[in-house]
Amino acid sequence: MTSHDYGAAGRLTAALESRLVSGLGGDAGVTRRAVLGAVGVAGGAGLAGVGGGTEAQYAGGDHEEEDHGTHGNFGAVGEYADRNFDPHAYLRQFNTGRDGQSTVEQRVYEEDGRTVREFDLVAVDTTIAIAPGVEFEAWAYNGQVPGPTLRAVEGDLVRVNFLNAGRHAHTIHPHLRNLNPAMDGVPTNGPGVLDQGESFTYEWIAQPAGVHFYHCHSLPLKEHIHRGLYGALIVDPDPERVRENPRAYTASEGPMTDEFREELVARARSRNHEYDDGDADELVMVMNGFDTNFDGDNEVYAVNTRAFAYGVGDTDGKGDWAAGETKRPIQVDGQRPVRVYLVNAIEFDPINSFHTHSQFFDYYDHGTTLTPTHRTVDTVMQCQAQRGIIELDYSDHEPGLYMFHAHQSEFAELGWMSFFEVV
């Protein structure tokens, strides 16, 4: 997994793990997952022994209960078995037309003096894992939820060849400043909804710069979105446009000095994937949720679909933890700035939020400005379809785990609970 030293906790876990693994030796039937699970149990048992917890008694049973002697631990039990989607890979997957995911056909070329970024998207019916052992019947662009992250530069033409291979009628509606109503991806305009087997090529001008959202706009809207038809659409600012019209990119009303103009241009360059000045670790986080029992309320909340995927594999609740195979913190280099493209795709709940522990950040609502709209905050909220850019600096933080989660406690405990591991 990772060669990083987690300190005493890591050594304890590693020792337990290796003892168990060697103890189980050549038993081919024992999976790593089972062993890790056993490590957790062994850890809990060890703890109960140390704490001298009372022997719990069972009515009518012969159970040897290991009462954790503590409050127990929240979190999903077990690891994810379905490896079709990797939320850790998804964080840093950008499809620019030039390169991106192998599952997204894409190309980039010039047309009438404009850069065209072309992508093939297919809506399919599929099943996704949303918590360990819990499957959800999703509708998904290219089979993944969230859909592929599309990235362009301000002023480019985004051309999407959309095929609907699902059983229901779908569209793609972009949250962009779109000048042609036929391209809006709603039932009343252009081709309207596309039935099974139908296709259409959407063309959108990538504007304004920012972090945006695309989703299906078929009715019933709640269901088409919550089933998984959405994704992030990032438009990088063009430094030349910023130089020409800097005022459009600031949240402040102060005087526009040459110095400030150059600073804005530099920020645009750092956000633009075509320039090399961007040294930030860029992460896409789509906050979403799933109603598995049709009660109009989400049973699972997450960033990027999988409950607790950026949590820890195991913890004794006493400060020791171990990374799991599929449930593990997001490792970030403390010496690089972290930029989060945050999108709220939640349904059923009016708002969602993002809260960092031991950290304050600058927030750029919708990402449409190059100066922050919120300075030095540790919590932002977003209504449905709202998005923004979060810039984090861990350069003076000690290495270790830093939690971040929705500060609706209910969402956090239902899966929207994550960690950065600063290394």
Binding site: Q57, A59, H63, G72, G75, V77, P132, T292, E413
Partner: protein
Amino acid sequence: MADATPETTATDRPLGLPRWAAALLPLVLLGVLAAAFVVTAPLAALDTGGGALPDVTVSHATLPGEGTLVLHVTNNGPDAVTVSQVLVDDAYWDFQVRGAGGDATLAPGQSAQVAVPYHWNPGWDLETALVLADGTTIGHTVVAPATSPGLTAGLLWTLAVVGVFVGVIPVALGMLWFPFIQSMRRSSLNAVLAFSAGVLAFLAVDAGVEALELAESVPGYYEGPILVVVGVVGSLLLVQSVSAWRRGRAAAGDERATGGLWVAWLVAVGIGLHNLAEGLAIGSSFALGRVSLGAFLVLGFMLHNVTEGPAVIAPLADGERPRLRQFVGLGLVAGAPVIVGGWIGALAFTPTLGALFLAVGVGAILQVVWELRGMIATDAGVSAGAILAFLGGLAVMYATDLFVAL
């Protein structure tokens, strides 16, 4: 049938087969048909790929300690289900599934326990839910959590003492009315018997209502209401068959099979079954931390059960006084099951077992009421006095029952 007719030969060899072969023929054909069905799958067209919906019941929860919560789960459906995650108060929580063969998958009809390490608060309700593999949630509310005492020698002793006070002593005290009852005139005796029948009828109604209430929490797989009906009818027929056997013996001239002693034993068995269920209720309430067995409750039970004593011995009144050990035996059979019921209730309570015990008690009692009617009724039917005495039995039991709200 015994008459020799021309068809005799044919019925000796039906369809020209030996009799045993003729008896097996339909079964063999059924087997062949079933095999053909499996092999050729003639109903494949009806298979739309749909499956039955998961049907899972959390029958009850136990709380062995302040740090643990145990949900008792049964899979009622025809397909296996997997408990993938567990929610406590809208939060995913650690859990272990016990009794499902090492994994979290329950076969059809299988029961298991989901143990959750959770530091619950006494009196603060817990909303729990099992999340199955397809996202289905099975909710269960633990109302006003309180620690379940669990199995200890102390608890067994306490329940035994309670059983003696609630079951054995009142019945024994009630039986001390025997000399008085024996001195009664026939019409008065009939009234006492009718009063006993009223007592028993009340117990039957009481237990029947309770059985049906409990049947609601019986996992669907066991068909709670049907289980209750079968339990009632089954035990009624069982006791009736014993009674019929007794009459057969009496008709054949067996001295011991005549007289009131038989009826007394039947009454004792019926009341014993009822008291078993009563003990079950006491034990399970205790096990679920739902009751404090205060002095008032025990006194209420004593008052309630003292009327069961004369019900047992009334059928003996017009015969000779039986030997002392008969009395002791009758008293123990009628009263001691409270102790046994208490233990079962505390150690292995399930709504299914509870409903079944209650139903069996109802059936036995109903048969005994019928038996008593036979003793009271004359050619002119049941006298007005006896009917009023029956009503009196019902009324007294209702009144004393008010003291024992568990």
